[in-house]
Assembly symmetry: C2
Homo-oligomer: 374 residues x 2
């Protein structure tokens, strides 16, 4: 359980991503119905558009987007460092160009905190550098700077009603991860992000890094595995002590026709669903499954209709939120291992190539694109 000024968050929790102050396609009321208790928003995107001052004037993020519950803002580090060829990093901070209009901007640790204080989320994140996870030298040098930036964020932070989380980095290297976890813990953050994972590295490395990192973090502070959100990965993360997950996977997948079922992902665009009167999942009590057939959902996708994106998004978020509820109940009852075995005995993870494609999509979590909508 995490307590915030905008409500309690039972943990472990999966947080839907609302990059631009909207979980794509959904209203805040639909998120409440789904059972979401925490959502993410993105500092980089909101700083550029509509601007932090505008949001502050309109009742901070909660008032602006009409979401009364807890919010977490990412610092924008991940997005800025995704702007290849568009950014220049120095000890002071990072200069980058807007993906919207090419204008030049500067984020320092202090600026990232200042913006997030204006946005007013309940949980905010330090500015970090997110290097290629496989490059030891880059990770080593970036790590030291990221640690100095973490100290500067702490000093700049003034709002006692916002919890500022540190972010452990260090790529796929146990010594760097250990060093990072120990250093950040010494600073005494109220929570810790584990960043720089799920960005293309082999899956066994992801879990190895968690095995190295989590035991070094204080037990009383929530651990947040950034950018991870497939059903099978939630089990692996929870088993290793993760409290908080976020990912664009369920929402992005939904908009591409991919939906979760207890037996694995299916893609509703496939011809075999053209006359299928069944819901996505028999027995699922989400709005989509209670009301619509796979055949209708497929039609909406093929016809390019927005309602299809909405209905798939509702189902996928409901699936993960409901799964997390079952995981929490199982932990309480001491039956987590049984639930994991049972779930994974039926759930077929996507094939490796499919998984890599989706991982690639997931990597782009809020990653700015040159054209169109991020």
């Amino acid at each position: 359980m995490m307590r915030t000024p905008h409500g309690d968050i039972p943990t472990p929790v999966f947080a839907p991503v609302g990059t631009q102050a909207t979980v794509k396609t959904l209203t805040p009321d639909e998120l409440v119905t789904i059972g979401a208790t925490l959502i993410l928003a993105n500092t980089y995107h909101l700083y550029l558009r509509p601007g932090a001052d505008t949001i502050a004037r309109l009742g901070d993020l909660h008032g602006f987007m009409g979401w009364p519950g807890p919010i977490l803002t990412d610092s924008g580090g991940f997005q800025v460092f995704s702007l290849e060829g568009l950014r220049r990093v120095s000890e002071e901070g990072v200069v980058f160009r807007s993906h919207i209009d090419g204008s030049e901007h500067f984020f320092s640790p202090e600026k990232a905190v200042e913006i997030q204080e204006k946005l007013g989320a309940d949980i905010i994140m330090v500015l970090d550098e997110c290097p290629d996870p496989m490059d030891y030298d880059y990770n080593k040098s970036a790590l030291e700077r990221t640690h100095r930036w973490a100290e500067r964020c702490l000093r700049a932070h003034t709002r006692a009603d916002q919890a500022l989380f540190g972010i452990v980095q260090g790529g796929v290297f146990p010594d760097l991860r250990g060093k990072s976890a120990e250093f950040l813990t010494s600073l005494g953050f109220p929570g810790y992000g584990i960043g720089g994972l799920s960005v293309g590295e082999p899956k066994d490395k992801t879990w190895e890094m968690l095995d190295v990192t989590v035991p070094l973090l204080p037990t009383h502070a929530p651990r947040y595995l950034m950018g991870v959100g497939s059903p099978e990965d939630l089990f692996e993360g929870v088993e290793r002590g993760v409290d908080l997950f976020d990912s664009v996977l369920p929402t992005r997948l939904a908009r591409n026709g991919g939906v979760f079922t207890s037996r694995g992902r299916i893609n509703l665009r496939k011809a075999k669903f053209a006359d299928d009167p069944a819901p996505i999942e028999e027995g699922c009590d989400c709005y989509t499954c209670r009301r619509f057939s796979r055949a209708y959902l497929r039609h909406l996708l093929k016809a390019g209709e927005i309602l299809g994106l909405r209905l798939n998004t509702i189902h996928n978020l409901h699936f993960l939120v409901e799964l997390m509820g079952r995981i929490r109940a199982a932990i309480t009852e001491g039956s987590f291992a049984a639930l994991k075995t049972d779930f994974l005995s039926r759930y077929v993870p996507a094939a490796n190539d499919e998984d890599q494609r989706i991982k690639h999509l997931a990597r782009r979590r809020g990653k700015p694109k040159r054209k169109g909508n991020a």
Copy 2:
């Protein structure tokens, strides 16, 4: 009041358009909340995708799209005759190519009825030819064929639970309109569409044609002015005895940022709304106005977020449905003229050029495009 197997429809009524078996961006439940009592769907689009047989197997249109109330299907004539260069008309029917894949298809009056019987709407329409409204010779010759097609539709029609409406044509020519109204009335349809208007002709011609046509139609049968739906036009139509309107204007406008207010249309994309904390319309009790500011709606539009399209659509449909409710109440109380004067004293119709641009968009009601979504 119109009675249908799926419910009563208080008249006059504005019917939202759901071309592809979805009123764009909305769920059936949202349409119920808005107060919609009748929606349109389109035979041309649904015949091509997903196909009438598929829809028939999945519980006809009502079951397929999860809308329990009355539905009207357009015959597809308007769409087929919008396919310039792609169609070939003869006495027998019309050959056309799909805008989706270029495949060749044939609609006859009998086929149009057969498809609509499979789709299962409560009100279905005869197949008609929709010529350039200003071309006398074309209208004259097309009219005779359209009348023969109307007779063939009547003969082909087998389902007693569906009301088959005739469609008056004749361009902007009083003699042709009169001839058409008289001929169709002699066939004894349960309702009459007035087609071929609001397709680019001057507005005074539209009303002149209504003045000529409506008195020739039987008083007991509903009159349906096809493709008209701006607030000011609803008043003009109702005053002339129209019972039923449909138009993509409110939904299409919404997706372009245009929303109705009691003082006229505004476009939420404008910079002046960037910090505006007010709802679209003070006192409006639609979901959008109860929950969100113009500033947030503008942000969603500028950021390309689907939620903005949804929220604007909800407001615009609510605006027209609520206005129609006030018009019905005023008719009952004998105060229609006062309501019209009062409404139009505050409501500034869009400037002529803007209006022409939107009319042009409205003309494309369900008009197939070569690429993307219609």
